[in-house]
């Protein structure tokens, strides 16, 4: 699994996971529930997250990689340095062909668009995200969960 840990800072979202600017990779056994594993490791390393949600999947690194966003509260895990998030174009596939390359920043861009979609469609997500998040996500074009290939 590939996890992007997000935190709001002064009205701007930042990446603030245990692996700094890099995605956080977690292995999941066949018998494990991926959401449970991401939630447990997030809780153990950074405290209780606000939201854990899978946003896309793709085949990479010799496996099927599930991408997750974890949203932490603004004052959570202050020992982890935060890196501002920049907007990038998505990796778009053809009708019958995969994208040539998919950068981590593009997976995150899609993750934020997926979060934007949830923030307008999903009552649970609407309830847990604060106004700062809703304001930031208003700039992202909503997209549902998809295969990034």
């Amino acid at each position: 699994m590939e996890v992007f840990v997000l935190r709001m800072k002064a009205g701007r979202p930042e990446l603030a996971g245990p692996c700094g600017p890099d995605p956080w990779y977690i292995e999941v056994a066949a018998e494990d529930d991926p959401v449970v594993v991401v939630s447990r490791l997030s809780r153990n390393l950074m405290g209780e997250p606000i939201l854990v949600h899978s946003t896309s999947w793709r085949r990479a690194r010799g496996a099927v990689v599930l991408s997750f966003v974890v949203v932490n509260s603004e004052d959570q895990a202050p020992h982890l340095a935060g890196i501002p998030i920049s907007r990038v174009d998505l990796a778009r596939s053809g009708a019958l062909s995969a994208a040539q390359t998919i950068a981590a920043a593009q997976v995150l861009e899609h993750g934020l668009r997926h979060l934007a979609w949830l923030s307008r469609e999903d009552p649970v997500v609407m309830a847990v995200l604060n106004e700062d998040w809703k304001q930031v996500l208003a700039d992202y074009r909503p997209e549902p969960f998809r295969n990034l290939m």
């Binding site: 977690i26 594993v37 490791l41």
Partner: protein
Amino acid sequence: MPPILRMVIGSEPAKQFVVRCECGWETRGTVDQIVPVLQEHAAESHNMKVTREQVIARAQPI
């Protein structure tokens, strides 16, 4: 020379290694020091079980 003193003089200091995780985390020390530390990091941060042999395979001498 007494045998115990010969043994101390003849022993080499334990070799030092560095082992880096893909996430940027690293630890240094002897094999006996780095193996449990990396195994703990792999389990706590990446939900991975790593064998002693896998740690040694990734370790680089300093």
